[in-house]
C-alpha cells in the first residue's frame, strides 16, 4: 500500500495528461436539410444520409397527453395505440402484416405534448411506408372492438408493471403528486380508473379535434434523394386538413407545495423506491449549458455525486440519478433511486446530504472540466443514425429551438464557468425545505420513518389511480 499509494497519482496524471484539452475540441454540426412549410401548415424536413439502406421518419402531432380531458387520462395514448391497429383498407392484423412482411417498423406513441409516429423501413420500401403512414393520419379505422381490446390490455399492462416493475411507475406517481391537476400530472398511459371511463367516442373525438396538418411535423432522414422525398412527402401530407380545435397555450404549473410526502404501499416489497424533487425548468431555459453541467455532476453519470455516495461508496443501491424533464413549460427535477427496505431512511438522508453539498459547496474547476468533456464527448453519438437525425430535427422544429441549439452547444458549454454553475444550481435545485417526496415500498414497515420528511399522504399500488384527488386526500396526518 505504501509504494502503491505513490503510483496511482502518477498513472492517473499520465492518463489525464494524454488528452488534456482535446476532448473539448469537438462539437456537432448538423447536416444540411431541406425544409418547407406546406399550405396546410405541415412542416417538412428532409435530410439525405446514405450509409445503410434504411429510411427513418418522424411524424409529430402537437397535442398529446396534455390534451386528455379531465378524468380521462390515457385517451391520447389509446388513440396512438389504435393508429397501429388498422387504417385505410387494412385491418389490424393486415396492417401489422404489411409492416412486418418487409421488415419495417412503425410505432405510434403518445408523449406529454405530442403524438409521435416513428417509422423505419428499408429504402426500397419507401412508397409502402408512405402509404401506411398516410392511412394512419387520414383514415385510421379506430374500430370499437379494437378499442375495447386495447383499453383492457392497457389496464393489464399497468397491473403487470405493479407486479414486476414498480420502479417504472415512479415517474407517473411523481408527476401526479408534483403537478397535481396541471396537465403535466396526467398519467400518460392512463390509470386503471381513468382508462375505465374512456369511451370509444372519446377516441373518435380526439381524432377529429387533435389531428391535422396545422399540428404536423414530418422529418425524414436516410438513404433517399432529397428532392424526390420532398415531392412525395408534400403530395402525401399536404392535403391533411386542419385539426378541429386550435391549440391553446398551456398554463405554467403552479408552484408545488413543499413538505409533502406521498407514500405508495406495496405490501411485502423488499425495497423502497424514492423520488425527491420539485419543479424544474422548461426546454428553452437560457442557462441550459450550465444546468447540463450541474446535473451531470449531481446525478447524470456514473461518477456523479449521487451515484458515488449511494452506490459506489455505500453500496446502498444499484443506482442513484437526478432526472430533469424539460417540456415547453416548467418541468420537473428529481432525485431517483431505491434501496433495501431497512435502509430507506439512510439512503434518503444521504441523498438529501448530497443535494445540500451541491447547493452549499458548488463545483470546482476540475469538476467543471470533467463534466464538459463528458457531455461533449458523447454528444455526437446522439446524431449517428438516420432515425436519430430525423428525431433531432423534429424536436428542434417542435420546440422552435433552431439549429444553433445543437451547432452552438459546444461553444456554449465552453463558456460555462464555476460561477454560472453555482448561480444555476441556486436557481434550479430546491433547498432541503422545498422538496416533495414520493416513496413506494412496504408502508407497514416504513410509514413511521417517512413522517420525518413531511405531511404524509398515502396510496396503495392496488388503488386504481396514480394521482391523489387533492380535494379529499385519502389520508392526511400532520408531521409529528
Amino acid at each position: 500500500m505504501r509504494w502503491q499509494s505513490l503510483l496511482p497519482g502518477a498513472l492517473a496524471a499520465t492518463l489525464s495528461l494524454l488528452s488534456l484539452g482535446e476532448a473539448g475540441a469537438q462539437g456537432v454540426t448538423l447536416p444540411d436539410v431541406s425544409r418547407e412549410v406546406l399550405d396546410n401548415g405541415a412542416v417538412l424536413i428532409v435530410n439525405e444520409k446514405r450509409e445503410v439502406p434504411l429510411v427513418g421518419i418522424e411524424l409529430v402531432l402537437r397535442g398529446g397527453g396534455v390534451r386528455d380531458l379531465q378524468g380521462k387520462s390515457g385517451t391520447a395514448s389509446l388513440y396512438a395505440g389504435l393508429l397501429e391497429r388498422g387504417a385505410g383498407s387494412r385491418s389490424a392484423a393486415e396492417f401489422a402484416e404489411a409492416i412486418e412482411s418487409v421488415g419495417g417498423r412503425i410505432s405510434a406513441t403518445a408523449e406529454l405534448e405530442r403524438i409521435r409516429i416513428s417509422a423505419e423501413f428499408l429504402a426500397r420500401d419507401f412508397e409502402l411506408m408512405l402509404s401506411l403512414l398516410r392511412d394512419m393520419l387520414y383514415a385510421p379505422t379506430l374500430a370499437e372492438a379494437e378499442f375495447d381490446t386495447l383499453r383492457q390490455r392497457q389496464i393489464n399492462f399497468i397491473l403487470a408493471a405493479k407486479d414486476s416493475d414498480p420502479g417504472a411507475l415512479m415517474p407517473t406517481y411523481a408527476a401526479g403528486f408534483l403537478f397535481a391537476d396541471h396537465p403535466y400530472g396526467n398519467p400518460l398511459a392512463g390509470s386503471e380508473s381513468s382508462l375505465a371511463s374512456i369511451t370509444h367516442t372519446d377516441v373518435l373525438d380526439y381524432h377529429a379535434n387533435e389531428v391535422g396538418g396545422d399540428r404536423l411535423i414530418i422529418s425524414l432522414s436516410g438513404d433517399i434523394d432529397t428532392a424526390h422525398a420532398m415531392v412525395r412527402l408534400a403530395d402525401v401530407f399536404g392535403a391533411l386538413p386542419a385539426a378541429g380545435q386550435s391549440l391553446q397555450p398551456l398554463a405554467e404549473p403552479l408552484t408545488a407545495i413543499d413538505g409533502r410526502v406521498l407514500l405508495i404501499d406495496k405490501p411485502g416489497a423488499t425495497q423502497t423506491y424514492f423520488w425527491i424533487g420539485n419543479l424544474g425548468v422548461a426546454v428553452d431555459y437560457p442557462e441550459r449549458p450550465a444546468l447540463d453541467i450541474a446535473n451531470t455532476l449531481f446525478g447524470g453519470r456514473f461518477t456523479s455525486m449521487l451515484n458515488t455516495a449511494l452506490r459506489v461508496e455505500s453500496g446502498l443501491t444499484y443506482g442513484a440519478r437526478s432526472v430533469l424533464i424539460r417540456p415547453s413549460k416548467q418541468g420537473s427535477l428529481g432525485i431517483s433511486s431505491f434501496t433495501r427496505t431497512d435502509a430507506s431512511v439512510e439512503a434518503i438522508d444521504m441523498a438529501l446530504d448530497v443535494l445540500g453539498a451541491l447547493r452549499n459547496e458548488g463545483v470546482d474547476e476540475d469538476m467543471l472540466r470533467s463534466a464538459r468533456n463528458y457531455v461533449l464527448g458523447l454528444y455526437p453519438m446522439r446524431f449517428e443514425t438516420a432515425r436519430q437525425l430525423a428525431r433531432q430535427f423534429a424536436m428542434l422544429e417542435f420546440y422552435a429551438l433552431g439549429t444553433a441549439h445543437v451547432d452552438d452547444y459546444a461553444d456554449a458549454l465552453r463558456a460555462v464557468t464555476v460561477e454560472s454553475v453555482a448561480a444555476t444550481v441556486d436557481a434550479v435545485y430546491p433547498a432541503r425545505d422545498e422538496l416533495v417526496f414520493v416513496i413506494l415500498g412496504d408502508a407497514e414497515v416504513i410509514r413511521d420513518d417517512m413522517r420525518r420528511y413531511g405531511t404524509l399522504y398515502e396510496l396503495s399500488v392496488a388503488d386504481p389511480i396514480f394521482r391523489l384527488p387533492f380535494e379529499e386526500p385519502l389520508s392526511e396526518e400532520p408531521t409529528e
Binding site: L18, Q26, S164, N373
Partner: protein, 564 residues
C-alpha cells in the same frame, strides 16, 4: 602503426563492445520496468536517446584517456613502456563477459518467470487482400477496412475503422460467465464485472470511471451465462487514455476488503430489483434451475443469495487469474480509428500482459430430458405468468438459425402466430415473446407469456402447444417465411447503423460463431433457409418430454383449481 591497431591498443573497440552490450541490457531492463511498474510510455525512448548520445562520448573518452596506476591520464602523455592498457583490456574483457552473462541470465529468467514474459512480436496487421476477404467470407461481403490480428499473448483484436462520427466503441469479450461457476461461487462472474470498476494496484477505486468520464467517455458491462462483456464509448481524443485504463484493470486489478463488501451490497440491491421484486425475474430464475439438472446453465447469472453473501476475496483472485487473461479475451474497436494505431496501442498496452493457462473446459453435458417438468410460484400477482422452455442447441448448432427464423414467425410483431392466437384471438395473454439461448453449450428455447388477469394458465399452455404442434405438422407458409427473413435482414442493417452495434455484432460472431466474418454471411445464410429446415428444427425441439413449464400466480387462484 595503423589506426586500427591503435584503436585496439587503446581498448577503444573493447569499450565500444561493452557499451553496446550494456546498453542492450539497460534498454531491456527499462522495458521490463515500464511494463511491470507502470513507468510512463516514453521511458524507453528516453533511455535509448541518452545511450545514443553517450556512445560517441565514451569512444572519445576511451581514445583520449588511459588508465594508469597513478590515475587517469591523457594517452599521449603516458610512457608506453609503463602502459597498463593490456591489463585494462583484460578487465574490459571480464566486464564484457559478465555483462553478456547477465544478459543470458536475464533471458533465461525471462523464460522462466511468467510475470516477466516478453510476448513474441505480433504480426502487424496487413491490409486485407482480395483473396483474404473472399477466403474469409466464403462469398459474404466482409468490408475491406476491417482488420484483425492476434497478439503474441493470445489477445484477439478486431478493428473496423468508421469515421462517420468522431467517436469510438470498444468491446472486450471475456470468456467467463455463469457456466464457469459451481455451487458456492454462483454469481461470481457477474460480481467480477462489478469489481472490474473498483480499482487496481495503480488506480484507487473510482478512478477508472472518474478518468474515463473526465475524458468524455462512458462505459458499461454485462454478464451472461457464457461471457462477460465490457463496453466503452468515447471521443477519439480519449483513445490512448482508454487503452491505458482497460489494460491496467486487466493486468493489475486490486481486491480491497472494504470495496468487496460495499460492492456486495450493490449486487444484493441489483438482485432485489431484477429478481426479488420482479415476478418475471423470479420465474425466469426457477425455470433454468428446473430445466437444467447438471449443466451450470442452471445457475442464475446474478447468483444465489447465499453465495452472494459469502464468496471471498480468495474466490475472486482465483477467478481473475484463471479467466482475465489476454488469451481468454477478444477486443473489438469500431469507430474513428486506424487499424495501425489500434495495433500499436494494443501491442504496447495489452502486449506485456502475460497469457495464462487456458481455463478447463466445461465438461458437464446436460443429460437428455426424459419427461415434462413443471413448477409453480405462488405470490402476489395481478397478472399471472406462463413460461415454457425446451432444450435446444448451441450457437454453432446447424438448427440455430432455422430456430431463430421460426421464433420470428411465432412471436415477432403483432402479425406473428402466437401474438395473433394468444393475445388477439383468445385474449389469454397480454404479451408473448420468445428467446433462443444460443451460447457455447446447448441452451433453452424459451417462451414467456404475461397472461390476462383472469386467464387460466392451463388454457394458455394448451393454446401455445397447439401452435407449436402446427409449426411441426403444417410448417410455415412462403409469405411467413419471406416476412421472417425480411425482419432478420432489416434488423441486420439496423445493427450495423451505429459503431456500437457494429462492435457488438463483430464480437458476438467472433466469440460465438467462430469468426467475425460469419456476421457478413448472415444475409446469405438467412436467404438460403427453407421452410423444411424450420419444420425439422421445430420437430427436434418442441416435444412435451423436452419441456419445462412454469407458472407464477396468486395463491388464491389455487382454490378453484382441481389438482391434476
Amino acid at each position: 602503426m595503423s589506426l586500427y591497431s591503435e584503436l585496439r591498443r587503446r581498448n577503444v573497440l573493447k569499450v565500444a563492445s561493452l557499451y553496446i552490450v550494456a546498453s542492450l541490457l539497460l534498454v531491456w531492463l527499462t522495458w521490463v520496468a515500464r511494463t511491470q511498474l507502470g513507468l510512463p510510455h516514453w521511458a524507453e525512448e528516453f533511455v535509448v536517446v541518452l545511450l545514443l548520445v553517450g556512445f560517441p562520448v565514451a569512444i572519445m573518452f576511451a581514445w583520449v584517456y588511459e588508465i594508469t596506476p597513478s590515475g587517469l591520464k591523457k594517452a599521449v602523455d603516458v610512457d608506453q613502456t609503463q602502459s597498463i592498457v593490456f591489463k585494462t583490456g583484460q578487465k574490459l574483457n571480464a566486464a564484457l563477459i559478465v555483462t553478456v552473462g547477465l544478459g543470458v541470465v536475464a533471458m533465461v529468467a525471462d523464460r522462466l518467470l511468467p510475470d516477466l514474459a516478453v510476448p513474441p512480436p505480433p504480426e502487424p496487421p496487413a491490409e486485407p487482400t482480395v483473396a483474404d476477404v473472399a477466403d474469409a467470407a466464403l462469398g459474404g461481403d466482409v468490408p475491406a477496412e476491417i482488420v484483425s490480428f492476434t497478439l503474441g499473448n493470445g489477445l484477439r483484436v478486431i478493428v473496423w475503422p468508421d469515421e462517420d462520427i468522431p467517436n469510438v466503441a470498444m468491446y472486450n469479450f471475456v470468456r467467463a460467465g455463469g457456466r464457469n461457476e459451481y455451487p458456492g461461487i454462483t454469481g461470481l462472474s457477474h460480481f467480477f464485472e462489478h469489481m472490474m470498476f473498483n480499482g487496481t494496484s495503480r488506480l484507487e477505486p473510482g478512478e477508472f470511471d472518474r478518468i474515463m468520464e473526465a475524458n468524455g467517455g462512458s462505459n458499461n458491462a454485462y454478464t451472461s451465462k457464457d461471457v462477460t462483456v465490457y463496453q466503452d464509448w468515447f471521443p477519439r481524443s480519449a483513445l490512448e487514455v482508454i487503452f491505458g485504463l482497460e489494460s491496467d484493470r486487466f493486468a493489475n486489478l486490486a481486491f480491497v476488503d472494504e470495496v468487496v463488501e460495499s460492492e456486495r451490497g450493490v449486487v444484493q440491491s441489483e438482485r432485489r430489483t431484477v429478481v426479488d421484486n420482479d415476478n418475471f425475474g423470479r420465474l425466469f430464475e426457477q425455470m433454468f434451475a428446473t430445466a437444467f439438472v447438471a449443466h451450470p446453465y442452471q445457475f442464475p447469472v446474478i447468483g444465489w443469495p447465499s453465495d452472494i453473501a459469502s464468496w471471498t476475496k480468495n474466490d475472486l483472485e482465483a477467478f481473475y487469474r484463471r479467466y482475465y487473461a489476454p488469451n481468454n479475451c477478444t477486443l473489438v474497436v469500431v469507430g474513428d480509428v486506424s487499424a495501425a494505431e489500434v495495433f500499436q496501442l494494443t501491442s504496447s498496452y495489452f502486449g506485456p500482459i502475460p497469457p495464462q493457462t487456458p481455463p478447463e473446459p466445461v465438461r458437464t453435458v446436460e443429460p437428455e430430458q426424459e419427461g415434462e417438468r413443471r413448477l409453480v410460484i405462488e405470490t402476489d400477482a395481478q397478472t399471472p405468468l406462463l413460461h415454457v422452455a425446451f432444450h435446444g442447441g448451441s450457437a454453432t448448432d446447424p438448427d440455430t438459425l432455422a430456430m431463430e427464423l421460426l421464433l420470428n414467425v411465432l412471436t415477432e410483431g403483432d402479425s406473428s402466430r402466437l401474438h395473433q392466437r394468444l393475445v388477439e384471438r383468445d385474449a389469454l395473454a397480454i404479451s408473448v415473446g420468445s428467446y433462443q439461448q444460443a451460447g457455447f453449450d446447448p441452451g433453452l428455447i424459451y417462451f414467456y407469456l404475461t397472461l390476462a388477469p383472469d386467464a387460466d394458465p392451463a388454457a394458455a399452455e394448451a393454446a401455445l402447444f397447439e401452435e407449436l404442434a402446427a409449426a411441426i405438422d403444417e410448417g410455415v407458409g412462403d409469405a411467413e417465411l419471406r416476412k421472417a427473413k425480411n425482419i432478420l435482414l432489416a434488423d441486420h442493417w439496423r445493427s450495423l447503423a451505429t459503431i456500437d452495434g457494429k462492435a457488438e455484432a463483430l464480437g458476438e460472431y467472433e466469440v460465438f460463431a467462430g469468426g467475425y466474418e460469419a456476421l457478413f454471411e448472415r444475409p446469405g445464410s438467412v436467404e438460403a433457409l427453407t421452410a423444411d429446415a424450420l419444420r425439422e428444427a421445430a420437430a427436434r425441439v418442441f416435444e412435451r418430454r423436452n419441456a419445462t413449464i412454469g407458472v407464477l400466480r396468486s395463491a388464491e387462484s389455487t382454490d378453484d383449481e382441481d389438482p391434476s
